[in-house]
Amino acid sequence: MTAVTTQAVEIAEIDPRDVEVRLNLLLDPGSLVPLHPRDDSGLYAVRGMVNGSPVVAFCTDALKMGGAMGSEGCKHIVTAYDLALRERLPVIGIWHSGGARLAEGVEALDAVGLVFQAMIRASGRVPQISIVLGPAAGGAAYGPALTDLVIMSNAGRVFVTGPDVVRSVTGENVDMESLGGPDTHGRRSGVVHVITADDASALSEGRRLTDLLAAQGSFELASLGADPDLGALLPENRKRAYDVHPLVSALLDENTFFELHAKWAPNIVTGLGRLAGRTVGVIANNPLRLGGCLDSPSAEKAARFVRMCDAFGVPLVVLVDVPGYLPGVGQEWDGVVRRGAKLLHAFGEAVVPRLTLVTRKAYGGAYIAMNARALGSNVVWAWPGAEVAVMGATAAVGILHRKKLAAAPPGEREALHAQLAAEHERIAGGVARAMEIGVVDEVIEPAVTRSRVAAALAGIPPARGAHGNIPL
């Protein structure tokens, strides 16, 4: 009884924001090894394990000057990065910091700049994950933003200038949460990949992501079990939009799909998961949102994800059901051409094993952007009945044969349109023609798709892109 009481008192006395408490929640029990003695620098850097994989981690000390970063603390981070690069270890940063230490002036700014430089040096070489548990302002905002993946708890806030400065400069009245809270960054800005309900789940999600990138495993085809009939997850009505999430989850090993940027640009789904035990990245159009159209934010979101996977050697599965690019003035002015080009570039330069599966349709420019053969996809498959074309046959003949259709008597117009569409499909569209010219390899059945995808990816020599992961 006495022992229990003592322990309870001890726990109550330790602030949950303590750096060691936070790092111990992140790391495997008993694995934390300090890289330096605890000091007043406002920073604690350590090494440890996540699910048995060695990592480097650091935590800004919210209890010392609000986690403000000075030259000493920044040196700890840079030293930790040097170690991580030497030993090829992932780096996990826990953030709760008001930014650079004002009292240190330009020395602190320089030190924060050196932290950024260390992150950029490590970019694409070792996975970098940031977990934001409190305000991360100014310099502390760009720290997480430079890393590969950003997780934010309900208490996390990221902004360059706080509400007071915003109010005095622009007159806008805004609180910290709407300025830079989880909803803002998870839904609007795309700064944050994962939002969580509390600190503990932010840290455990950080562990899951670390595990997916640090312990990628290998394809164990014998572990696959019976194939699910993935076709049953699509509506019978081919015109009907549907949520692609169940399809992604069923393709992967059970309960392994970890979605990134779930609320931002939801018309494309990106995430990591395991297939036959190995980490893979999935990119899928989501017809339920914007009909699954590509637009500027979704192209940018997918482009960054593709480049991250390529940098860390994660094979890619691309599920295509795309009607095209979203038309509109807003899109053009928003730079859909520039931002869409990022996705072309990302796929085109990727060297990881890549497989594309057209489930229903791939039209126009979006067909190319969704990892077409021309961009170097290793394997391109289609499900029976899938369409691969510049546009749907009915729409295409509406343009190609506009005069002929207009000249037809109104009563016969519809039949003529259907007949022309069928002809067009035979000549220009359809998977048959795509297979003839070698841009689709094979039509495969939905009921064997999961095992075929795993086997195909397992058969492609592993590779890893040699480039940084600029936060596109």
């Binding site: 009505n237 015109k239 009907r240 939009a241 949520d243 017809p287 339920l288 949102r289 914007l290 009909g291 159209c293 009607p323 095209g324 979203l326 509109g328 807003g330 749907g392 729409a395």
Partner: protein, 72 residues
């Protein structure tokens, strides 16, 4: 609290599935839009009671228009 369901893109309202007063759960279908030559269901994101359906079949709606209001 009122949760407003907004249109994400220009579309025709193909079918109105739910009615004011209906209890809905996240994922329940409210209306079906027609756009990009597809039928695109609009689903409830929150649980609650529908206090308003702001569109009728055949309406043309544009990005940002209110489709429905759910009180929770």
């Amino acid at each position: 609290m009122n949760h407003t369901v907004l249109a994400e893109l220009v579309a025709n309202v193909f079918k109105v599935v739910a009615s004011p007063g209906d209890e809905v759960q996240p994922g329940d279908m409210l209306v079906i839009l027609e756009s990009m030559k597809m039928e695109i269901p609009v689903l409830a994101e929150v649980a609650g009671t529908i206090s308003e359906i702001a569109v009728a079949e055949g309406d043309v709606i544009t990005e940002g228009d209110t489709i429905a209001v759910i009180s929770s």
